[in-house]
Symmetry: C2
Subunit: 324 residues, 2 copies
C-alpha cells in the first residue's frame, strides 16, 4: 500500500517528466508554465489513491492521473480568462502573462494532451474510462456555466448552489477516484461507491472553503479572510443568510453587500454580525459534517482493506483544511 | 457504393438529429446555433467516403464523422474569437451574438462532445482512432498558433506557409479520411495512403482558395475578390511575390500593402499588376496542380474499386472550386 505522501511524491515526479518542449513555443510554453506552477495535485493523487484501493501497483493509473491534472489545469486557463483573474498560485495567469488568445489555444491543446494520455489505456479499460472522463469534463463545463449565470442573478437558491459546486468541483474529484478505481480493477459497485464518496467529499470541501474564507483563523488560513464578502461572491454562507433573513434583515444584508461607503473591515464585520445572528456558521458546519459523514458511509461499503480507507480519509481531512 | 450526394444527405440528416437541447442553455444553445448554421460538411463526408472505400456500410463511421464535424466547428468558435471575426456563414459569430466567455466555454463543451461520440467505437478501433484524432486535433492547434505567429512576422517563407496550412487545414481532411478508412476496415498501408491523399488534397484546396480570392471570376466565386489583398493576408500569392520580387519591386509591393491613401480598387489592381509581372498566377496554379497530382498518385495505390476512387476525386474537384 502506498501512503499518500508516497503518491504525492510519485505524481510530482511524473508531472516533472511531462515534456512539452515542442514547437510552436507560443502554444506549448504556457502549458509548461502552468504545470510547473504547482498546486496540491489533489486530482491526480485521487486517481492513484482510487487505483490503490483495488490494486497494489498504481503504475497503469499514472497516465490517467496526469490526464486529470492536465484537464484540471486546462479549466483553470479558460476559467481565469472568463473570471478575469490576474493571479493564480502566486504567478501571473496565462492570459495576463501572454494574452487571451494564448490562454484559449494553449488550453485547448492541454485538453487534447489530456485525452492523449488516456489513449494509451488497454482496450478493455479505454472505452469505460473515456466515457467517464467525457461525462465529468462536460459537467465541469456545465458547472462553470451555472457559476457565470449566477453572477447576473439576484438570488440563488441553496439547491442551485449545491448543484453548481457539485458540477464545477465535486464531479472531477469523484471522476478521478472512479477512473483510478476502474484502472485498479474495481467492480462496478465499488467504482460507483468511490464515485459517491468523492462527490460528497467534494461538496464538503467546497462548503468548507466558503466557511474558511469568512471564519478561518487568519494565522492558520495563510491569507486574509473576508475576500468572498468583499467581492460579493454568492457563497453557501451568503445564500443561506439571504434565505433565512426576515424581510428587514434581508434588505439590510443586500444594502451591506452593495455598500461602497464603508471600509472593507466595516463591511466584513457588519456582514459577519448578520451571519452570527442567523447562525450561519453553525448551519454551514453542519452541512460540511453531513456531506463528510455521507462520504464516509459510501467508503465504508467498499470492499477493500480498512487501512487503505483510513489513508484516503486522512487525505480528505487534510485537504479539507484548505482546499485550493 | 454511396454517391457523394447520398453521403451528403446522410450526414445532414444525422447532424439534424444531434440533440443539444440540454441545460444550462447558456452552454448548449450556442452549440445548436453553430451546428445549424450549415457549411459544406466536408470533413464528415470525408470520414464516410473514407469508410466507404473499404466497406459497403458506413453506419459505424457516422459517430466518427459527427465527431470531426463538431471538432471542426469547435475550432471555428475559438478561432473566430482569436481572429476577431464578426460573421461566419452569413450569421453572427458566437462571441459576437453572445460573448467571448460563451464562445470559449461552448467551444470547450463541443470538443468534449466530439470525444464522446468517439467513445462508442468498438474496443478494437477506439485506441487507434482516438490516437489519430488527438494527433490531428493537436496539429490543428499548432497550425492556428503558427498562423497567429505569422501576423507579427514581416516575412514568411513558402516552406513555413505550407507547414502552417498543412497543420491548420490539411491534417483534418487527412485525419477524417483515415479515421473513416480505419472504421471501414482498411489495412495500415491503405489507411496511410488515404491520409496522404487527404494531406495533398488539403494543400491543393488551401492554395486554390488563395488563388480564387484574388483571381476568381466574381460571378462564379459568389463574393468580391481581393479581400486577402485588402486585409494584407500572407497568402501563397503574396509570400511568393515577396520572395520573387527584385529589391525595387519588393519595396514597391511592401509600400502598396501598407498604403492607406489609395482606394480599395486601386490597391487590388496595383498589387495584381505586380503579381502578373511576377507570374504569380501561373506559379500558384502549378503548385495546386502539383499537390492535386500527388494526391491522385496516393489514391491510385489504394486497394479498392476504381469507381469509388473516381467518386472521391470528383468530390475533391467539386470542393476545390470553392473550399469554404
Amino acid at each position: 500500500m502506498f501512503t499518500l505522501t508516497q503518491l504525492q511524491e510519485l505524481i510530482s515526479e511524473k508531472i516533472k517528466l511531462l515534456n512539452f518542449d515542442k514547437e510552436p513555443k507560443g502554444l506549448y510554453e504556457p502549458i509548461n508554465y502552468t504545470l510547473a506552477a504547482g498546486g496540491k495535485r489533489i486530482r491526480p493523487i485521487m486517481v492513484l489513491a482510487g487505483c490503490n484501493l483495488f490494486s497494489e501497483t498504481v503504475e497503469s493509473a499514472i497516465p490517467v492521473a496526469l490526464a486529470f491534472e492536465i484537464f484540471h489545469n486546462f479549466t483553470l486557463l479558460h476559467d481565469d480568462i472568463m473570471d478575469n483573474s490576474p493571479v493564480r498560485r502566486n504567478k501571473k495567469t496565462v492570459h495576463v502573462k501572454w494574452n487571451s488568445n494564448t490562454a484559449i489555444l494553449s488550453g485547448d491543446a492541454m485538453m487534447i494532451e489530456a485525452y492523449d494520455l488516456l489513449s494509451n489505456l488497454p482496450p478493455d479499460l479505454l472505452g469505460k474510462t473515456l466515457k467517464l472522463f467525457n461525462r465529468t469534463a462536460l459537467e465541469v463545463c456545465e458547472g462553470q456555466q451555472y457559476d457565470m449565470d449566477f453572477e447576473t442573478k439576484e438570488l440563488v437558491s441553496e439547491e442551485d448552489y449545491l448543484k453548481m459546486i457539485k458540477l464545477k468541483t465535486s464531479v472531477l474529484i469523484a471522476g478521478a477516484l472512479k477512473a483510478g478505481a476502474i484502472v485498479g480493477g474495481a467492480n462496478d459497485k465499488d467504482a460507483d461507491l468511490i464515485y459517491n464518496f468523492g462527490l460528497n467529499i467534494g461538496l464538503a470541501f467546497q462548503i468548507q472553503d466558503d466557511l474558511l474564507d469568512t471564519y478561518a483563523d487568519t494565522a492558520v488560513f495563510g491569507k486574509k479572510t473576508g475576500n468572498d464578502i468583499l467581492t460579493g461572491k454568492k457563497t453557501f454562507l451568503l445564500i443561506n443568510a439571504l434565505q433565512k433573513a426576515k424581510p428587514k434583515m434581508f434588505e439590510e444584508l443586500k444594502m451591506l453587500i452593495k455598500n461602497k461607503n464603508i471600509t472593507d473591515d466595516e463591511k466584513i464585520h457588519s456582514i459577519i454580525k448578520v451571519y452570527n445572528i442567523l447562525n450561519i456558521k453553525e448551519i454551514t458546519k453542519t452541512k460540511v459534517r453531513e456531506y463528510h459523514q455521507k462520504a464516509i458511509k459510501y467508503l465504508e461499503n467498499i470492499s477493500c482493506e480498512n487501512k487503505k480507507k483510513t489513508e484516503l480519509l486522512n487525505f480528505a481531512s487534510l485537504i479539507m483544511q484548505r482546499k485550493k
